[in-house]
Amino acid sequence: MRTLKTSEAATFLNVSPNTLRAWERRFGYPKPMRTEGKHRLYTHGEIAALRDALKEGLSISSAISRAREKLTGDTPVLVGALTACELDRADAAMEAALALRSLERAVEEVLLPSLREIARRHGDASAPWAFAARWASDWLARARRLAPPPTRPLTVLFGDASRDELDPDVLETSALELFTVRAGVQVLTLPVSGLAGLNDVLQNFRPRAIVIAGSSASDDEVARWAYAVRSATGPLPVALYRRGERRAVRTTSTLVLPPAPSEAQHELMALVDERRPLAPSLRPAAFDTALLRRSVSA
């Protein structure tokens, strides 16, 4: 994906950097990413779409609306490809989306809306949904395998409270896991139904926070699992993701994450970062996947 600095994007559009920032404040577009030094970084596709729209527009607002329409053109293509069961075309649609956006935005603006549209049209008990959901799970898993290794000594434990792999919440949760991994944090996902051997796993994998994701498991089941985790690790912050209504207030013990995966990831990072560093004796050891397999199968 080609990116432009603020000055480059401004030159490309023949406007000043102040104008670009004014548009971002008022219209939320173009929406830049941030470098590690917090500098704005614009995607070339977004700026090019805006330049074309400005030539034909009568106002900034209508030009931005037109540029947005052009960029959301990838969603109908992906919906069409998945509905027609054409895997190559679906992969190509995501490739095209990635050429214009960051991976996070491609997932949030193209992949997830396309899957929601298929669920809306056919229902989540239909064959088209099953096909599309499996393809999307596979795509997200591939992206996660390609993510760089963890760069921060932080770990987050996800408790999977979804129904099964075709539960619509699973894709949103997988997206949140992917974004968290890409932020340099190690992620482990365990089902909330599995209590056996949990203690052994958590001795090696000391999480910094727990996320309970999905709405299918009962509150009793989730509570038992969370109690078992906290018994093994000590008190940890717990966040809920896509588990019913979002509460308006943040309680001291439980944070309800927003439904959008990128916003949820930012809140989760803030939750993890605000905790003080662990004492050396409590720092997580290198993750032992063999031990995890033994413990889960026990």
């Binding site: 023949n14 406007v15 000043s16 102040n18 104008t19 004014a22 548009w23 008022r26 219209f27 400005l54 034909e56 527009g57 009568l58 106002s59 900034i60 607002s61 209508s62 030009a63 609306s65």
Partner: protein, 161 residues
Amino acid sequence: MTRPNLQVLPGLGDAEPHVSFCGHCAKRPSEEDAVTRVCTSCHLGLIVSAPESLVPATNEPFVIVDGKLQVCAVSRRAEKLLGASETEIVNQRLTDILLPADAEASGIEHLVSIIVHAARGDGTVHDLVVRPVGEWGIRWFTRVGPCGAPSAALIVLAPEG
């Protein structure tokens, strides 16, 4: 011999000169703005042009509508007058926002006809009376005429009185 039914029509050479202004704050552009098409004063409007007699003053609210009657631009003053932001109004149909309030005009068709002709580039500036949709007792005197580019209709609103 006199031909009383014939009238002198304005020719191309008689066309009123066009003046440029910002489609958001209505300020006249500097030389730099003319190149970029973006107003360097408010940063939020594109530079458009209209016949001199139609061009809004900086304190006059206005909207710009295309030939499909879709709102394309709303000035800062019009946002206040209509009680909605530009992002909420743009892409709505004009008739969802304004309706004719002229007792002598022949209903909405007259308003639509004038706007469609203006959006096609008809150089005549018309005076109309409109009211906001869903509200009575308020009337705005308006001037309607062509603007661009691209070709569109400019509706300059002036509250009664």
